[in-house]
Subunit: 119 residues, 2 copies
Amino acid sequence: MPVPLYQAKAEFFRTLGHPVRIRVLELLQEGPRPVRDLLADLDVEASSLSQQLAVLRRAGLVGATREGNTVVYALSTPDVAELLRAARRILTEMITDQGGLLAELRGSGARAGSRTAPV
Amino acid sequence: MPVPLYQAKAEFFRTLGHPVRIRVLELLQEGPRPVRDLLADLDVEASSLSQQLAVLRRAGLVGATREGNTVVYALSTPDVAELLRAARRILTEMITDQGGLLAELRGSGARAGSRTAPV
DNA sequence: TCCGAATGTGCACAAGTCTTCAACTTCCGG
DNA sequence: CCGGAAGTTGAAGACTTGTGCACATTCGGA
């Protein structure tokens, strides 16, 4: 194993760890889109978007096709969309959970949660 | 919405974007474990592990309980384990895919893949 | 052919992340 | 009550990333 799996995983997550990249991926969930279009929705500089698109491309998460004057991007596999859905679900669950969790955490100081079965 | 959702998501993924943190989470999938134990498996300095555990704690992904002389960590919700499984599945799919994908990518230069339905 | 729009790239600088080291706290056994 | 083991924390320095800018490239149309 040249690159340990857990390191590949960490890199993969780091690739997702940028607001613009997340938004691009979410926009692409609905189908391929030209850069111009993404640019309109995202409110970042063109070159900045290009940089982030390059990161996603290198990571193999998206692919680009030139169509005449413009370049169209698309998710390279639907799995990406699936992962994003999983993340969204989990994240919102965690956030809503925190209503109850926070109380518990504050109440007991550093002796936090262990909500998983105690063996 | 104080923090836009896509930014929260990016932060969440960045939290996962570190080899030690990934490994800790994976070890904790099997149940709560004392720091000493993690330390034995991970081959990093104690203080370094502690730093990463602190990151995970702040992110709300794990919780710690002091038990006498030692501190025991546990996932704060089983959802985390679920996300890791999803990520592993997707990552391995992407890696195996790349056998075929790579050929396609190299063959057609920058005009890469759009494997999602063309609208 | 020449111009301008649409993108990508290289660079320098600001900002954030990791690792290491030393000091501190808590608990247990003697 | 003291010494040591288990963890945690804060700070400094090395390193990695993100951003904005100027410039190169590629097309399509006048």
